[in-house]
């Protein structure tokens, strides 16, 4: 125990070092907890949005009257599992909210579709507790009753109808979550780097104590053991406040401050909080142990790569192998391993590269003042290597997430407007004759002046793949008009839509094209209701929603005996009012309770749920960046403090404090700016891998790749801000008397 007290006494003499170490550990724990919390929230939020747009069954009254609470009570009394779904457009607002009853959803347990609501608190907008939604002053309000699958016969006054808000977003969400997972692994890596740098810093500050202990005959193994113990003690002290802080931070980011205050008194929120602490606590403990254990592993690595000169070569090799792996990987896990190799190599090379830069700077400058500056820059980069790499990775991650989120937002938006291109969507009721409606619409909406419409018929067909025949979804549209021709195509022949309209070709979705290696112009052999067709592929359209392959054809080539499983009309009325159209359809089909959905409202609703998810994701990256910045700030400050004497020497040599501050500022800015500049290509590369490689491998479709230079500038400005803060902290130090470095310290090569 004497060794332990001897070691710990260091912190009694330098309380701020201990505090900085504890603070960084606390912040790192907070970061990981926050990320974990936000990721789970994003997952829940996305889950709810998917529930929102999923096809389900709803209860309707046979007489077409609106449903009321009495209907709900009556059905529940009959022992039927129904869940109320109250859509409210609050007075004076343009966006709807949805009230759901988590308790009523409990009977859905075990069914995937509404399960995400059972008993769980509702994650933010647009979902509310039904009581809160009902309490709003509503401009418009409609109650739906959703029926659990397989529920027994309904009373005669009711019947079932499909209930769907919009097309299934399934894979788009899954893909986003996969990317989110990849990024949280990166965050873990960054956290590890930061912890490691703090740990090393604490070791280097105590070299004198270790030397003393060694002289007293204490074995290195014993010292290391005690250090580990000490680290665990510190961890025990910082873990719980860190977790608490992380959750508080995540809550602030996710719901604003008021929510947090409410959350403190809300048992439901506390209950979920309880579920989120175990994983971060475990992960952090393992991470801390790993950080301390690296010292046992490093000698082995050092032995494996003899000589300093070979290491950059080894790192370069790592990067090259990783890049080749990223390029060639044909399995998701291979890709992740390759990516890890690239990151490790870059993390290894980056300080080395900056050090080379510093050497070149020294050689290139004739003035001794600049030679000093470049040499000092090199020392700073070497000593702050770990936090710098952490900052570089965080900046790269922020960049990737920013691009990813914008891309997803954009894609989701475009995809929704593609699928919801018409204003109104009318489902053809079972048994109704769609031809009647089609004739009526042809007659009354002959041109865009009256309104646009098309008729969609879905079913299943088969296509030839090599020698075998496989099932494929068929998506037939009549007429192929302006509601379709706005779709963006990934590849196309000339005049694809005209050719499609004439029935002389088909279009396929990206999934099918990727799977079959199909490109435009190739022929596809189809069988629709026993009728064989051989048609060229006119275009490939992006389709992010479903894993299934899909073939788009003009309705006119659909055989008469094709089995249509789902039918709908999409209508964008112009001079003919929508009421006229829906009244006509009700009359034609003798169907008073027609399901008519307002696509714009659905689009808005779906967008908002995604907004929530994206907001959480951004919050996560901001948190990471903030931690990396704070870490660099602290470490930069601590390290520069140890060199304070040499800055004072400049003062002794007659430089003014302002001149010294300018030198310091330039140093700090150069260091943070280089990290940011090196982060840019890494971030763009990371985005590219996520969007163009991981997605096609996982889902068979790629997202468009976009770069946002304005955001680069913002990041560079942020790097400058961090550098400025370090320099300002140092200016305070410069005013204080400097401690002359001890003789032993000044002769160790470390300082050069």
């Amino acid at each position: 125990m004497t060794v332990f007290t001897a070691l710990f006494s260091h912190y009694r003499r330098h309380p701020w070092q201990g505090t900085a170490l504890a603070l960084l550990m606390l912040l790192a724990t907070a970061l990981w907890t926050g990320i974990h919390h936000l990721t789970s929230q994003a997952r829940d939020s996305l889950g709810q949005s998917e529930r929102l747009v999923e096809v389900r069954e709803q209860v309707q009254r046979v007489d077409g009257a609106a449903l009321t609470v009495e209907d709900f009570v009556l059905l529940r009394r009959q022992g039927l599992c129904v869940m109320p779904w109250l859509e409210v457009l609050p007075e004076g607002q343009s966006r709807r909210v949805i009230g759901v009853d988590p308790l009523a959803a409990l009977c859905f347990q075990g069914q995937a579709d509404v399960a995400s609501f059972d008993g769980q608190p509702l994650v933010g907008q647009p979902f509310l507790d039904i009581a809160d939604a009902a309490a709003l002053t509503a401009a418009e309000q409609q109650l739906f009753l959703i029926l659990a699958a397989g529920e027994g016969p309904l009373p005669s006054a009711y019947r079932t109808a499909p209930f769907a808000l919009s097309p299934d977003t399934g894979q788009l969400g899954d893909s986003f979550l996969l990317n989110l997972d990849a990024l949280s692994v990166l965050v873990l890596l960054i956290t590890g780097l930061l912890l490691r740098s703090v740990y090393l810093l604490s070791l280097s500050q105590r070299r004198d104590s270790f030397a003393l202990l060694a002289r007293l005959g204490v074995s290195g193994r014993r010292v290391r053991g005690h250090l580990l113990l000490e680290l665990l003690c510190l961890a025990a002290l910082t873990l719980i406040p860190g977790i608490w802080l992380g959750q508080a931070l995540a809550s602030v980011l996710e719901g604003g401050f008021t929510n947090v205050m409410e959350g403190l008194f809300d048992s439901r929120q506390l209950a979920t909080g309880g579920n989120h602490w175990r994983v971060p606590a475990l992960v952090m403990t393992v991470l801390l142990l790993a950080v301390a254990m690296v010292d046992w592993l490093m000698p082995m690595v050092a032995r494996a790569t003899p000589g300093n000169r070979l290491r950059p070569a080894a790192a370069t090799l790592l990067v090259l192998v990783g890049l080749a792996g990223v390029w060639l990987a044909n399995a998701l896990w291979l890709l992740f391993v390759a990516l890890a190799l690239v990151l490790a190599g870059i993390g290894w090379l980056m300080p080395r590269g900056l050090s080379l830069l510093s050497g070149a700077g020294v050689r290139a400058s004739a003035q001794p003042g600049w030679r000093w500056w470049w040499a000092e820059f090199g020392v700073l980069c070497r000593r702050l290597a770990l936090p710098l790499v952490a900052l570089q990775f965080s900046l790269a991650m922020v960049l990737a997430v920013q691009a990813l989120v914008i891309t997803f937002e954009d894609t989701f938006d475009r995809w929704l407007s593609q699928r919801l291109s018409a204003d109104v969507y009318v489902q053809v009721p079972e048994g109704a004759d769609s031809a009647l409606a089609a004739n009526w619409l042809t007659e009354h909406l002959p041109s865009a002046d009256e309104g646009l419409w098309h008729h969609v018929q879905r079913g299943s067909g088969r296509f030839r793949h090599g020698q075998a025949w496989q099932d494929v979804d068929i998506f037939a549209v009549t007429p192929v008009g302006p509601l379709m021709t706005g779709w963006g195509l990934l590849e196309q022949t000339s005049q694809p839509w005209q050719t499609l309209a004439s029935g002389a070709g088909v279009m396929v979705n990206e999934q099918l094209a990727y799977r079959l290696g199909l490109s435009v112009g190739e022929e596809l052999e189809l069988v629709l209701a026993e009728q064989a067709l051989k048609l060229p592929v006119l275009g490939i359209y992006p389709d992010y929603g479903r894993p299934a392959g899909e073939v788009l054809i003009a309705g006119q080539i659909l055989p008469a005996d094709f089995e249509v499983t789902f039918e709908s009309f999409s209508i964008s009325p112009a001079s003919v009012p929508i009421e006229t159209i829906t009244d006509a359809l009700r009359a034609l089909w003798a169907e008073p309770a027609l399901t008519i959905r307002d696509n714009r409202a659905i689009q808005d609703l779906a967008n908002r749920v995604f907004e929530q998810t994206f907001m959480l994701t951004r919050a996560m990256t901001v948190l990471t960046l903030a931690l990396a910045a704070v870490a660099l700030l602290l470490m930069g400050w601590v390290f520069l403090s140890t060199r304070l004497w040499y800055f004072r020497l400049l003062e002794v040599w007659g430089m003014t404090k302002a001149e010294i501050f300018r030198k310091l500022l330039l140093l700090a800015l150069a260091v943070t700016l280089s990290a940011a500049a090196l982060a840019l290509p890494l971030g763009v590369g990371l985005t590219w891998v996520l969007v163009q490689h991981i997605n096609p491998l996982a889902f068979g479709w790629s997202l468009p790749m976009a770069v946002y230079p304005v955001f680069w500038l913002e990041l560079l400005a942020l790097a400058l801000l961090i550098g400025g803060c370090i320099a300002l902290l140092m200016r305070r130090q410069l005013g204080r008397p400097a401690v002359r470095p001890s003789v032993t310290g000044s002769v160790t090569g470390e300082e050069r």
């Binding site: 001794p368 003042g369 002794v652 040599w653 007659g654 002359r740 000044s746 050069r752």
Partner: protein, 228 residues
Amino acid sequence: MGGELANGENVKVHSAVNVSGLRKTFGQGDSAVAVLSGLGFALPAGSSLALMGRSGSGKSTLLNILCGLEQADAGTVTLFGADGRTADWPCLRRERIGVVFQEANLMPTLSLLDNVRFRAALAGQPETRCQHWLEVLDIGELGQRFPDQVSGGQRQRAALAMAFAMAPDLILADEPTGSLDRNTANEVADELFRLQAETGCSLILATHDAELAARCQQTLDLGHRSGG
């Protein structure tokens, strides 16, 4: 240059350093330590003064005040006829006052030659003479080495080369040989006094070493004064 000043007319008019009624107290209240209380002395240009006294008697504090790194609580300091209260201290330190500490006088990131060049450039002296100063101090062949690659004595020689390369009027040396063995200390001191005499600059030397102090023209023992 110091040499010119030593031979010029104004030597008789001005002292290089004139100090009177100097007071310095660290801390406040009960914990206050009166380090300097009413100190006064005059140093003619071109001559040397040894500061003696027990550890903690205020030698380093006085040197810090004489180069403007610390402010006195009361009293006047006059350097080359300029009042310390209005003097441009950074300019004085840059061009006229060379400071040599016991150790850590060199930038660890620069070679010995670059250290000398850096110091000379700040003082506005030609860099072409830097190698010459290293040679004068007998470390001419070590110019490309870094401070951690030479011995303590060689480092102090380099520190002297730096001080003389700036062509100072006054050198403040705070135990410049304090961390060296006797032989090396003597060699370094020999160089210091030889060059001081050659260039004609003034020298204030803080030391515990009575032998070294005896080589100065004047001696000021702070140890006796710190109580009064």
